[in-house]
């Protein structure tokens, strides 16, 4: 045996970690399908209104389906506490510095839920539109939340994310005039980057447009 003298030897591993990201997401999707759970990945910047929109969706959908939420945040529990008020199970994931959720983190969150008892899983991703684009978590639909308070360039500045989303919500349109943001222009930008995407406008805080989001998500 070579190298016997120093008791050293090689272990071949040959694992490509770059493939694991999508493999984990695919496995999550399989697990969700086995349990008949639909999953929505909600993406948007901090302050775009993800949590408020999720609360609006829960309000509308709660009478006809059972819902659970996985809320990702870098350090706080604020989002989970805001959603728990609704009486639906919430798993808070503090990513501890990571700027995105990934398939593995979401899988661990799913293990803390009774998947047989729920119809819809809403995953609130970390508030950032760049990194989550590279990390599919295994959701049936990706819901992108942009708000007019973030300025007029959110769509053109995040083309990768916009291209990956199925539905885009333009939130806080009641503030468009004060922000001097042209909502039609923003919608056109979104559609130019992703011609397949469905675009919906909302004032999530007041429940305006939530029914349109539900319809666009096919729920």
């Amino acid at each position: 045996m070579p190298d016997e003298a120093d008791n050293g030897y090689d272990i071949v591993i040959d694992v490509d970690l770059s493939k694991r990201t999508s493999e984990l997401a695919d496995r999550n999707l399989e697990l969700l399908d086995e349990h008949g759970v639909r999953a929505i990945d909600v993406l948007g910047s901090v302050g775009s209104g993800k949590t408020t929109l999720i609360n609006g969706l829960i309000d509308q959908l709660k009478p006809r389906m059972s819902i659970a939420v996985i809320a990702g945040d870098i350090t706080t529990r604020i989002d989970a506490e805001r959603i728990e008020v609704q009486g639906v199970p919430v798993v808070q994931i503090q990513t501890g510095g990571a700027c995105h959720l990934d398939g593995e983190i979401v899988r661990r969150g799913m293990q803390r839920l009774d998947l047989d008892a729920i119809d819809l899983l809403i995953v609130e991703n970390v508030g950032n539109l760049i990194c989550p684009a590279a990390f599919p978590i295994g959701a049936h639909k990706r819901l992108l939340v942009l708000s007019v308070t973030e300025g007029p360039y959110m769509a053109v500045k995040h083309p990768i994310m916009v291209r990956q989303a199925d539905v885009a919500v333009i939130n806080k349109i009641d503030l468009a005039e004060a922000m001097r943001v042209d909502v039609d222009r923003l919608m056109a930008d979104v559609r130019q980057v992703n011609p397949e995407i469905e675009v919906v406008t909302t004032v999530a805080r007041d429940g305006e447009g939530i029914a349109d989001v539900v319809a666009a998500l096919g729920l």
Binding site: D6, Y9, D10, I11, D16, L17, K19, C99, C131
Partner: protein, 151 residues
């Protein structure tokens, strides 16, 4: 005060996300390495061999740094980290051209997709043959202490 080119490039990286991805990658590598060593009943890990594809927007020096930090206090502390860069190799689905492509070192591609084209026929339907991987190839380990004494 003017920023140097190097500083401004770092500043351009969106919110330091790249370095966070380096940490994520380093954590996954560390976990893979330590699991394999434990499963084989090995003692110390002396060397970790990694293949880093050119398409991975990861800086090898940062990756090495984070991996060393994460392995501290484990069986992999002090292991030599060997990172081999793999160039992007593609095959054109349109004309069949095969070869290496230079990946542009421009931070804008953290925000925009880079869509390479075939140098022969300009088609954009390229199949990646290699260069998108982040592979833990193998590790070199020492036998565990107990095994040492038996020998």
């Amino acid at each position: 005060m003017r920023a140097t080119a190097r500083e401004s490039r770092t500043w351009w990286r969106p919110w330091g996300c790249e370095s966070m991805h380096d940490v994520t990658a380093a954590r996954q590598i560390a976990r893979t390495v330590l699991q394999a060593a434990e499963q084989q009943g090995a003692g110390r890990v002396e060397k970790v061999r990694i293949v880093l594809g050119a398409m991975q927007m990861i800086d090898p020096e940062q990756l090495e740094f984070w991996l060393e930090q994460i392995l501290r206090g484990s069986a992999g502390e002090g292991a030599e980290i060997e990172i081999r860069r793999n160039p992007l190799t593609v095959r054109c689905r349109a004309c069949g051209w095969e070869g290496e492509l230079e990946v542009p070192d421009d931070p804008i591609y953290h925000l925009m997709p880079w869509i390479p084209e075939c140098p022969a026929c300009r088609a954009e339907e390229l199949q990646v043959l290699g260069g998108d991987e982040l592979t833990v190839e193998s590790i070199r380990v020492r036998e565990a202490e107990g095994a040492d004494e038996d020998a």
